[in-house]
Each structure stands twice: as C-alpha cells, then as structure tokens.
Symmetry: C2
C-alpha cells in the first residue's frame, strides 16, 4: 500500500441495516443500565427455578449457605472475634465523632452486619461505622440542631438522616444507577479521605488535651486557634496517657507491617488499649484528676427507633441532604473496599446489588437505633487478614457485640476518652494515603491537583466544601476532556501500509498532497465546533507548511474515524460543514474506517451521498491509495515519478 499498484479492490464500508427504534432503544438501555447482564442466568430455565434464582440473586446468603462447611466456620469464627475486638472500641469512638451517645456506636455494630450478611455479595467486607461519615453527620446536622443543647432531637435527626441514606442507597441500586459512584474519581477520594482524616485527628486534640470547650468549626485554622488559645487549660495527665496509647497503637501497626506474626497483636491492640486504659483509671481514680471517662452505658440490645424518625420536622431537608451525601460517600468507600478485596480472591462484586444491601442495612439500622454504617477499609483489611471466608464473620462479630451489649457494658464505665482518641488517630493515620498522592503526582499531575484541591478544601474549609470542590473539579475535568478531544496528524510508517501519529512515531512520513487526520474521541455537540475549527487549522497550517517548503500543494484531507465511537446530530453537521469548507478550498474530503453508528447517521442524513460512498474507505491505507490513484493515474502528472522515488527512498 502507499503506491498506486495497490489500488485494486476497494473494500466497501457497509451501511448497517437500520434497526427499529424500539429495539435499538432497548439495546442501548440494556447496555447503560444492565451492562453486567444480570438476566443471563434466567434464560431457558423453568419458572420455579427462575423464582429460586431470583431470590438467590437478591438474597445471596441463600445461594452460598448450602455450600457452607465447618472449615469455613472455623476461619470465620476467628476473623469474626478479631473484628469484634475492633468493632467495640471503634464503635464507641466514632459515635463520639458523630456527637451521639457512645452506646449507639455499639448498637450500630449489631443489626447492620446481620442484614449485610444476608444481602451482601462481598465475602470480606466487615460492616461498621465509618469515621468520615460520622464526622459528616456531626458537621452537617450539628449546624441544624445542637448535639449538646438538644441531644434528643439531634439523635432523632441522625436516625432520620441514616434512614434517608439507606433509601437513597437502595434506590440507586434498584434503579441501577451504580455509575453515580464512578463519578467520584480515585484522586478525589484520596484527597477527600486524607482531608477528612486530618481534621478528624485535629478534633482529637480536644480529647487528648482534656479540653472542655472546643470550637464547632472543623477547619485547621479554627481548631489550632482554639487549641492554642487555651494552653493553660491543657491537662497533662490526659495528654501523657493519650500519647502512650497512641505510641503503643502505632508501634503494633508498624511491626505488623514488617512481620505478619505481629498481625494479631495489631488487631487486638485497640481492645487491649481500652482494657488497659480502663484498668489504669479504675485503679488510680484518674477520672477525678482530669481524665474524662465514658461513664454509664445502658445494658441491653438495640431498642426500636421507628418512632424516632422525624419526617415532619423543619429540619427534614437537612436530614435528606445529609442522607444523600453520607449515603453516596458510604457507597463510594464501601464498594471500592469490597471490589479491592474481591479482586484479591478473584470473585465478582455486583455494584448495584451492594447498593441495595447497604441501603437495606441502613434502613433497618435507622429503625433499630443504629446510625450510618458502611464498609470501613481498616476493619475489612483486618477481617481479610484474619482469614475470613464469608459474610459469616460479620454474623460472629454481631453476636460478640450482642454479648457485649447484654453483659459487658458496665466494664466501659472507666474507659478514658483519651484512649478512644488515640484509637481514632491511629486509625485515621492509615487513611492519610500520601503514597497514593505521590503515585498520582508521578503519573498524572492533573489528578494530583484534584486530589490536593479536595484535601485543602476539607482541611481549610469544611468537609462539604472539600466534597463540592472535588466533585466540581472532577466533572469539569470530564467536560474539558469531552470539549477538547485530540486530533492527530498521521503519517505513513515506511515500507508498510500502516499510518500512525507523526508525533509518536518519528519515522512516520507525510504523504505528499494528502493530509491525514485522526479524531480521537466520540463527536458530540460539546466538541463539534472545536473540532471544526481545529480541523480547519490543521488544513491551514499544512497548506502554509507546504507553501513554505515549496512542496506539492494539498489535494486530499483524509479523516480517520476509527476512534469515533459515536456521534450525534451536531457531529454530523460538523462533518457537513468541514466537507463544504474543504470543497471550497478545492480539496476533497475522504473518510477512513467509520464505525457502524457513524455510517448509520451519515446515511440517514444523506451526507454519505454528498461525500460520495466511493470516498469512504475501510483503512487509511486504502484511502491513501485511492487518493494517489486519482492524483497520479487519472490525471497523469510528472510528480508521479518523484513521489514513487521518494517513497522508496524512505
């Protein structure tokens, strides 16, 4: 190819047969909302079997329970007890982060894990309360109702927000809107989580230093000025205790990363800290010397809270707004965590099914005195490393928490708050994923700046500002990507029929008299007018260049449409205008390798007749051959010899 002899048998690009509108609508709806084809297994099955399969689809435990063995149970028992030892102190700590009574944190580790065990499709996810969600609750709802002045109404609002989070999560799943979560990019999540972890750590300065009055703002400036504005109020007893425990927790984590033998020590460290701290306070009566303790915890299981959900209150909109935000954040973290661990074990997580499971677990939770639960990374990692085999480990954890609620709550009376702060700080330091940020900087600077923007937004502004920045920048990035697709000039790789980017392959050579452009994205209204201008500029620049070096002038413009996967009416108009423009300059527009959708629309808009079916080729090579044939064979010209000579020399 590249020489005229090759121009023998041009292969036609077929116009695909037009499908009825309803059928193509059905296909595209299916591709959009059911890309995973969940109906696959139902095909050609008897009705009763279909019903069973459907039930198994929505309640996965029915599917795997029959295959469950005693060996699995032994593994799950160990993993379940391990994560319960984490769930109890973390539950209490995160509840204080959400400004709600600590007992609700324990309640939240009882009902939701049971629901998830039945409905969830992950084998490794450990359900529980999450730090970022807790912080978001206190910062968004705390503005509406003060948790200190009106604690009962505040708790009701928290339950209501949890209920709405569940409703949104479940409806995203049912409506198959799983892709909403995809619009939070990895970079924004890294930045946002890091920022949230930073401000959560800063908030712990209150507990660590034993301060009584503390700012309600979360930004670093307010917190720092609040902390250093009351230096004389710092309680050294509290600070020393806190630092010791923090050191202990960080040390066990450090060693567990080096040697896997230390894994159990690390997993048990929070519970050990709580026990040691409580004993220490009980023996030294430190609660009378400035060390704050949890105090009385009610015995007994979760009370029903259906009557506490307030739908008529003036704060309903705040509850709905908080619900949607914490719901989406919970899903984003939970699904990402679930997928990560599913990949290690090579099984599949269905995002939409997970959403329904998360939603149901939060709806049920909000009715049984639980607040927002999701799949925290740290606990899931412990679960995985402790050897969990199925969601039964969540059931074991819930049973252990139930046991705690029924019999052990008095033991937490003397647990110092400062130990809880240390547990939170040590967990949060794991969320400060600076390695991921460095990775982003190395691979994609723009992603790094999105990450940094989200981080700084959270740290300097508030959690919501950070979130808004992250989402806006992510969306702007998509829109910019879409609005500015790349166009590439192609050249011939010598002695082949292959045409590739002149920039990427320095050996590629231009073909005299022909400009070959590749359009590198689907053509929509958002980029059509840019492409029109950019193509004109390429033509203009090429003509200029040819004039300046005194080469043969331009005769053909070949557009390689291999990468144009779809097109809308604006895109078709764009090609129409480019065609007219090129015509007016005395050039000829040639298309190479249009895909079926492009061909279909070219055909429907009659543009195919304007361009001429004979000017639409299967490959760039064939398009070039056809142009050369017209240039040198149809109207013989001395240049032919030059050209061939040149081609062979390269």
């Amino acid at each position: 190819m590249g020489t005229t002899e090759d121009y023998e048998c041009p292969r036609r690009v077929p116009v695909p047969p037009s499908k009825p509108f309803l059928k193509s609508l059905q296909t595209s709806l299916k591709e959009t909302f059911f890309p995973d084809d969940p109906f696959k297994q139902f095909k050609n099955q008897p009705t009763s079997w279909k019903f069973l399969l459907g039930l198994q689809y929505f309640v996965p435990i029915l599917e795997w329970a029959p295959r469950y063995t005693f060996d699995f149970f032994k593994a799950d028992l160990i993993a379940g007890i391990t994560i319960a030892s984490l769930a109890v102190p973390q539950g209490i700590s995160y509840a204080s982060l959400a400004s709600i009574p600590p007992i609700i944190g324990l309640y939240s580790s009882f009902v939701p894990p049971l629901i998830y065990a039945m409905l969830g499709s992950s084998r490794d996810l450990a359900v529980g309360t999450v730090a970022v969600g807790s912080l978001l609750i206190s910062s968004m709802l705390g503005k509406e109702v003060s948790p200190t002045e009106n604690p009962e109404q505040y708790v009701r609002l928290v339950f209501t927000a949890t209920f709405f989070a569940g409703v949104f999560q479940a409806s995203f799943g049912i409506l198959r809107l799983g892709f909403i979560v995809d619009f939070l990019s990895h970079a924004t999540i890294v930045g946002f989580m890091g920022g949230a972890a930073t401000i959560v750590c800063l908030q712990q300065l209150k507990g660590m230093l034993g301060l009584v009055h503390f700012t309600h703002e979360t930004d670093v400036v307010s917190v720092m000025s609040s902390v250093f504005g009351q230096i004389h109020q710092w309680r050294w007893e509290s600070a020393v205790l806190g630092c010791c425990f923090l050191f202990f927790l960080l040390l066990t984590r450090y060693f567990s990363k080096r040697k896997s033998v230390f894994f159990w020590i690390n997993a048990m460290a929070p519970l050990t800290s709580v026990i040691l701290g409580s004993l220490l306070v009980y023996l030294t009566h430190a609660e009378k010397h400035g060390v704050q303790v949890i105090g009385h915890l009610k015995k007994g299981l979760n009370p029903l809270s259906t009557s506490e959900l307030v739908f008529g209150s003036p704060h309903l909109m705040a509850a709905v707004k908080t619900g949607i935000i914490i719901g989406v954040i919970g899903l984003a973290e939970g699904i990402a965590v679930g997928r990560t661990f599913a990949m290690f074990k090579n099984y599949h997580i269905d995002g939409n099914k997970e959403m329904i499971a998360f939603g149901m677990m939060n709806i049920a939770g909000s009715c049984t005195s639980c607040y927002l639960t999701a799949g925290p990374f740290s606990r899931t990692a412990v679960n995985y490393n402790a050897g969990s085999r199925s969601a039964v480990s969540n059931i074991i954890m819930a049973t252990a928490v139930m046991f705690t609620l029924l019999f052990l709550t008095p033991l937490f009376h003397y647990t110092p708050l400062v130990v809880l702060s240390s547990i939170i700080v040590s967990a949060m330091l794991g969320l400060l994923d600076y390695e991921a940020a460095i990775h982003l900087w190395k691979i994609d600077k723009f992603d790094f700046f999105i990450c940094l923007g989200a981080y700084l937004g959270v740290v300097l502004g508030s959690v919501e500002i950070g979130l808004v920045i992250a989402i806006t920048v992510s969306l702007l990035r998509i829109l910019l990507f879409v609005a500015r697709p790349r166009t590439i000039v192609l050249g011939n790789i010598p002695n082949t029929g292959i045409y590739r980017s002149m920039d990427q392959y320095p050996i590629a050579k231009t073909v005299p008299g022909i400009l070959i452009l590749q359009i590198d994205a689907p053509v929509y209204f958002a980029n059509a007018s840019y492409l029109r201008e950019r193509i004109s500029r390429w033509i203009y620049e090429e003509e200029d260049r040819l004039k300046s070096v005194g080469e043969t002038s331009l005769h053909y413009v070949i557009l390689d449409l291999s990468a144009v996967g779809s097109i809308d009416t604006s895109g078709i108009s764009m090609f129409e205008e480019v065609g007219k423009n090129v015509d007016r300059k005395g050039l000829k527009l040639v298309l190479a390798n249009p895909q079926s959708e492009v061909m279909k629309k070219l055909h429907k808009s009659k543009l195919i007749d304007t361009i001429g079916q004979e000017w639409i080729h299967l490959t760039v090579g064939e398009a070039v051959a056809a142009c050369n044939f017209m240039l040198y064979t149809c109207k013989p010209d001395p240049v032919v010899v030059d050209y061939n000579a040149q081609d062979n020399n390269v």
Copy 2:
C-alpha cells in the same frame, strides 16, 4: 498476517520521551484555551507591527477599513436601510415584550450596532434586540420588581442586568471560555427557541384581542385560561386588524420563499404594516374604539444611563442571575448565527472575539439607555439577502435609527399595538423550526427527546425551567456517553491483516484462542470500573461460547487501544486490574496500538513491565501474529494444522 509466517519483525511501540511538567502544562493549556492559535500572526514581527496587529486583532474595523471600497458601500447602504426598516418596528415590539417603554427598543438599535461594527468579526450579523432575551428579561426581572407598578425601578434593573450580561459576555471572551456556549447543543437550542417562540406568540394574544388584564405567567395553561376566562372582554376591532396584518406578513414571507423577487416586499412588510396601521388608526380614530396605540414617544437620542445602574439594590442578585442567563443565551444565538453566515461566505468567525464584541456592545448599551442586544437570526438573514458586504450595514442602520429618533418618533403615536403583535408573531413563527425537529428525529432519537424536553419545559413550565431541563439533559447525556463507552469485539477480515468489528462486518471471523476487544473512548475514572466489568463479561461470554461450540479454549486477550486518546490514573489502575484478572484465568493480556499518552502513563506506572514490552504491538495484526507464534510455534500443537486450514478456507 493472521498466519505464523508473518511474525518476523515486530515493530516496537516507542515510549515517548518524558517532557518537563511545565512544558506539557503549557501545551495542554494552549490546546484548551487557544486552540485557534491567535498568536500565530505575531510571530517574527517587529514590535511596532506587533502593536498594530494586536490593535487590529481587538478592533477588527482597523483591519478591514483601509480595504473598504465605494462598491462595498453601495451594497451596505441598501442592506443597512433594509434592516433599519425592520429594526424600528421590531425594536418597539420587542421592548413591549420586555415590559419596558418602546423608546428603549429604538435606543437599543442605535448605540450597540455602532460598537459591534467596530469590534465584531462577522460581516453579516445585524445587531438588534432579540425576542427570547426580551421575554427572559420580563419573566425573570418581572418577578422582582413589577414593571407596571414600579416602572422606573424596573427599567433600572433591566439596565443593570444588561450591564452584567455584557460583563459576563466580555469576560467569557477574555478568559477564552468560548467553549461554554458549546455545551448548549443544537437540539436544546432548537427546542428552547421553539418553546420561547410559542410562548411569545401566546403572549401576543393579549395585544391581538385587545385585553387589558392578562396573566403574568408564561405557561400555555395559564395563558389559555386567562384568554378564555375573559371571552367577553375580547375586542373584535383589534382582533380583525391583527389578523389582517398577520395574514399580510405571512403572505409576503411565503412568497419571498418561493420567488426571490418578493424578497424586498418581505423585508419592507413590517414597516409597511406599521405605516398602514398608523394611517388607518389616525384616519378612523380607532384608538377611541378599543384599539390600543403606542402613544407619545420622546424625541431625541439615547440619554446616558450610567447613573441608573443600581449595584446596591436588594435585587442585585436577580440582576446578576438574569445577566448571566440572557448573556449566555444571547451569545449562543449570536455566535451560531454569525458562524452560519460566515460559512456561506467562507470566512472565519472567532468565537472568543465575538464574545468580547457582544460584551462591549452590551456594556456600552447599558450606559446609554439600551437593553440587551444580540444577533437575531431573522434580521441577519435579511441583511445577508439584501447584499451586505461588511459591518458598515450596521452603521447605516444605526444612522437611520438615529434619524428616526431625532425626527420621526411622533409618527409612531398612532401605531396600533396589534400591528406590533402581528410583527412579533410572524417573526416568531420563523423560530418554530419544526423541520429541524423532524431532522433530529430521523437522525438521532435521543437528540429529538432532548429537544422535545426543552420545548415542553418552556411551554408548560417557564423559560427558566425549559433552560434548566435542556442544560441538565445535555450534561447528563455527555456524562452518560462518558460513563458508558463502547467495547467492540474485532474479527479478522478474511485474506487481509485487517481487524474490524464483528457486528459491523459480518464477513469478519474470530481468531481461534484469541479474543480481540476494541475500547472506543478515552478511559477516565468515570468509565474505568464499567470497562473493567464489561471486559470481564466479554471474556466470560467468549469462554462460554467457546465451551458450548467445543472450540479451542481462550489463550489471549488483545485490547486494541487505537481509540483510547487519553487516560488517567483510574484508567491505568483499571488496566492493572484487568491484567491481574486475566492472569488469574490463565490468559495473557496483549495491547495493540496504544497512543503516546497511554504509553507514557503505562511506562510511568511500571505497568509496562508487568504486561511486558514484548506484548505491546503496533497493530492488532501483529499482536495476533505474535500470539499465534507463541501458541503454535513455541509449543507445537496439532491444532496448528486445523487452524491454518480453517484460515485458508474462509
């Protein structure tokens, strides 16, 4: 290709040399904000010449005025007078649409055209007030300040909104944010304009039927119930007069479309109607029998209105909001109109420069008692058809309007409002572009529904609801496009080395043991997890299919990345995970034709070493050849013979 003999000299895909961060940032900023390369002409020029070129760049009249000839002037004179005959009645009519005194409509056809003639780059655009903008002003600002109860404050608010519209327009241009306008797709504009035209026509029922009381709502239900709720108030004199003039106007338009001889009659028809109507009222004293007339118009040129701009009022936010919306709508219409006519005459319109010109013209207008002006389609079409050669026709029009303002305003005293209504209705019917809607339906059903949504939103809700629907649906469409890119299975076209979509080319055949997938869009965070799942599903389905027909099992998965123009970190992680996934199934991942950005990021993330540089090929054909070489040559297998036989049979 396709057989093992071809596998001789694999061409490497080079990793592009890494550019310094600042340089690549500069390149990408330039591509994003200066795609038209406006600095091109300044290169290698002396400083004084650069200054002159810069001045000419911002004030295009300096560039074309020296070349202006008397022949041009003769053409522009005729065109200018023609559009002035349209500008006077339209100016008065649209002012009533905006609920402001009619004289402001005349003022607005004097100063802004002069500014545009100096700064604009279109030779055909006729500047003037626009119906949709006028309607938006009255519907958005009318809610804040009642134009009937507090007319002075209302007018001040209109000037302020115009000022902000100008500021936004100019700053979009200066900040090179021209692409904002591109996010209003053609389909949304057709629907929105059609809807606006419909409700403008409905509003004219007030004038046509001589009604005094009328609803402030614009939706079709309110207007119809208002009209039919007061049947006994209808004035038949007014209605008959209106219908006669409407019939006359429509008739001239109908004929002008058939025969170009009637063009002048059509162009002059509005002015003729005004003169005839005024004479009729004057002679029959119809103003005393229920035919409303314009009444007294002040003589004299535009008074300054800088002191009327209110920045401290409580309605400032409404003015800013109205300003940004009417500014963007004005730009969208104006630039689209300018580009359309520029294409007819084969010259180029610089979108960002046009935005600055529009902005300056509205800022200057708001200081000289003018309200929003843009480039109305109807007037520009008349200008073009009347043979305008340059923006001088706008100057002629402005001069004619000046003459009218100085001497002729008393003549409009007896002009019946019903004639103005007929002029508006006949102009609006041209905006009801049902042909475009049919075209959309034929080519792209989805675009048609966007158009219909915008239309129904405007007609049944309000202008703002329609606009919000249109923009939201357009953005959702982009996001859906981005979130659900297409993946295509490729097959070999027999007797060639070409691989194409199996769906599009029924003759294409699968290659045994190899699955070839083409990814049809850039890979971002928004589609990375979808792609991961979709690729797994393709592999799963292919394995299933092979099992069911008892063919050789799958050994290689080739991803054709020709269409992946860019990628972010999430995309890279996606490939990493797909690689691991494929590995775990005992398959091998092979990449074909990655572009330079993809190669760069594969290299930086070290993924290139995981996949193996030797598994990255220049073309799908070479990748297939390499796979076949490994399959049949390295570990000889009886299948080889089968395969080759099969290949030759096809």
